[in-house]
Subunit: 435 residues, 2 copies
């Protein structure tokens, strides 16, 4: 802390003007001859991409809705604007060597205009559309012979009849989803019976297209993350296990424990193939269901750094954020080897009630108790179930990801750390005040 | 690339104003309740500290001389000014929870004023003085019984006589050093004979105090890096071997191969003890000579992140930049365990002649040939022998740092990568054009 008596700044002191969103704006990077990358969206993915850009000598520019978004807090090259406004997108793209994404919600029509104007939009709109539109994604995957759950389109004409027909066929063991715009559990309804299904359909806002999917008998959820460059090089990380809570990712175990080697390799081959067939550039997460009977089905595609890849920041030779930058700039891709037998990532998800202890105090206590925890905070306010950070715990050498005790212990540490950071409560009842 | 035809930004688009150097300036971090740290100096150490601050949810403010300094390029919170101007220092300190350093050249008198005004200056001036003034450091270390080379002060009165007496006693096998301001080989002269020594003394600018030191019969140079918090917690990394060229660090091997365990532990104990006795807060590098006859002598102290600690960014659970932030903010310190049997760091040192290939092209070729290289670029222009980046190569699991082949191979990869990045030439004669 400084005393209130510290004098006002001397006139000789000035602060650095922000880089204008113009070719001059990339002067600093330009003098070093290194690239400028524009990322649309100022969230935690852009924030962590900036960390990687610093090491590579690049300049990351973000288009953010406000100055206090996670990425806007930490990079000097920020354009304030909306990802749905073409002129804002144009302003953010000027002088950049590539334009890429923190989220999937940019209108493809705008992106096609940018491409026509010479902007390198990566992944290209023609690929990104499959991450935006679940129905087009399903159709394309069927076309490519990729395994997916049974689904039905609930189009404008007679959606009710289509839903009833599909529901009856699957004994109402189905899931309803909005075709576009859903994420982190939003726009997804787990259905048990006819009434519930019809209610969702009736309550759906006009024009919000829905689709229905068969509920899959799951063993667990997996994710296969891949990076692909314009040149066509692909690199895939080990397949990981993702644990969902309230419809969003809570824990990731890398690699997926006890996963059959052939199944793991088929998932990796599938991810590489889809990246190629869809023309993806950058990193892509292929979210998978591992069924009770040992099959893999594709659940979702995310064409950007993804929560299921956060473990790689500390647990792999090359993290997903560096790999995404390397891919969109057409550098050769980095080594995806693991640094440890297992790494566990646990999300810090905002608690129902804000803890009495400040985030900073919680961090002090966490570091005191778990010196090995790798904490990544996003600079976001705390709200229930909001992703405000994550913790990686890297396993000690000599362990084995197929040893349940080794993995269980790592997971316990990671989840305890994350729960402490969000709730200010130790899951094992430890009392910081020793009472 | 974008076409020149992209329209000018729409008026709705604005860029983020820089945070003023005032309590309001830390609004963003303040809303999240996380700390603001001011670092004096905008060099690569501040740049890499910013990467660590992002993960910890902190805000790093730098006092930089210009907007294109390595750290000023990548953090939005920059105060432009001089580290020798008290008002600039005050402006940079306002609203910060701690003030620390990218280099050791801030006048202690200014720092004492800041302390009196309530600024948390860490390391405190009373400790920093020993990193600024080699003579005071030597006197203090003798007082503390720490092993150091024989030395003599060449004070204002009869420096010539003192030099001759000391030189004769050591058969002119001595080193001349400026008492303050020297670094990376500057202000150090290796002496062979009387004439040379007297010439250095005669040519020394008036008022530039010199000292003489006995040249030590070296096996190699080592560094013991330690972190210490105000609370008094200390944490030490494994002792590393540092290889110097032209008087500056070129390569670091972590841990130091084939180092006697007792000697390694005594170096770690010495570093922890000195950090405590000197009241250091933050990280400190204790640069050591390992003598031919197996003793350790203290060469220099650096009270900040240090080149000999760059390996820890990729090779240890907790890197030196995160540890420095944890220390100055009095968090419990991070785990200093290694992630691999060995990690080798090689500096990218500017070539005599700028390579024809751009830095960006060189990076493409490096990634193509060495996918495991961890590259850290500083955004600096290329000048002969200038530190413009470094490369870390993390050893594969199962290796052994005491296996000369394992270490030699890692070192060869790291040095080849670094030399390629600076010179655009492969040390093994590989021709990128296949000619």
């Amino acid at each position: 802390m400084t005393s209130d008596s510290t004098p006002v700044p001397a006139p000789t002191v000035t602060t650095v003007p922000p880089a204008p969103a113009s070719p001059e704006g990339s002067r600093v990077a330009a003098t070093s001859g290194m690239p400028v990358v524009t990322m649309i969206g100022g969230g935690q993915l852009a924030r962590m991409t900036h960390q990687a850009a610093i090491a590579l000598g690049q300049r990351l520019r973000v288009l953010a809705a406000s100055a206090d978004e996670p990425a806007a807090q930490v990079t000097p090259d920020v354009v304030l604007g909306s990802h749905t406004d073409l002129d804002d997108l144009r302003a953010a793209a000027r002088g950049a060597h590539a334009l890429t994404f923190d989220h999937e919600h940019v209108p493809v029509a705008h992106l096609e205009v940018l491409v026509a104007e010479g902007v390198k939009v990566l992944p290209p709109p023609a690929a990104l559309i499959y991450a935006q539109d679940k129905l087009r994604m399903r159709r394309k995957l069927s076309e490519l012979g990729a395994p997916i759950p049974a689904y039905v389109e609930l189009g404008a004409d007679s959606p009710r009849e289509a839903l009833i027909e599909f529901g009856e066929r699957h004994h109402w063991d189905i899931v309803l989803k909005t075709v576009t715009g859903g994420y982190d559990g939003r726009g997804v309804w787990l259905i048990d019976d006819r009434e519930q299904a019809l209610a969702v359909l009736d309550e759906a806002p006009a024009g919000a297209a829905l689709m229905a999917e068969q509920k899959v008998a799951l063993r667990r959820e997996l994710s296969a993350m891949v990076g692909r460059s314009p040149f066509g090089q692909g690199a895939v990380w080990p397949v990981v296990e993702t644990v969902q809570r309230k419809g969003q990712c809570a824990v990731v175990i890398a690699p997926a424990p006890g996963l059959d080697t052939e199944l793991a390799e088929s998932a990796q081959r599938l991810a590489l193939r889809l990246a190629g067939e869809l023309g993806v550039v950058g990193v892509m997460a292929v979210e998978l269901f591992e069924t009770i009977d040992g099959r893999l089905l594709v659940n979702e595609l995310a064409m950007r750094p993804h929560n299921s890849g956060h473990w790689s920041m500390d647990g792999a030779v090359t993290g997903q954020f560096e790999q995404h930058l390397r891919a969109v700039l057409d550098y050769p891709l980095g080594d995806t080897s693991v640094l440890a037998p297992a790494t566990v990532m646990a999300n810090i998800l905002g608690a129902e009630e804000a803890p009495s202890m400040s985030m900073d105090e919680r961090l002090h206590h966490l570091f005191a108790r778990i010196p090995r925890a790798k904490v990544h905070l996003y600079g976001k306010g705390e709200r229930p179930d909001r992703k405000i950070g994550h913790v990686n715990v890297v396993g000690a050498p000599g362990g084995d990801v197929d040893d349940p005790d080794y993995v269980a212990q790592l997971r316990e540490i990671a989840e305890r750390a994350a729960h402490w950071m969000s709730h200010g409560v130790w899951t094992d009842g430890w009392d910081v005040h020793g009472e």
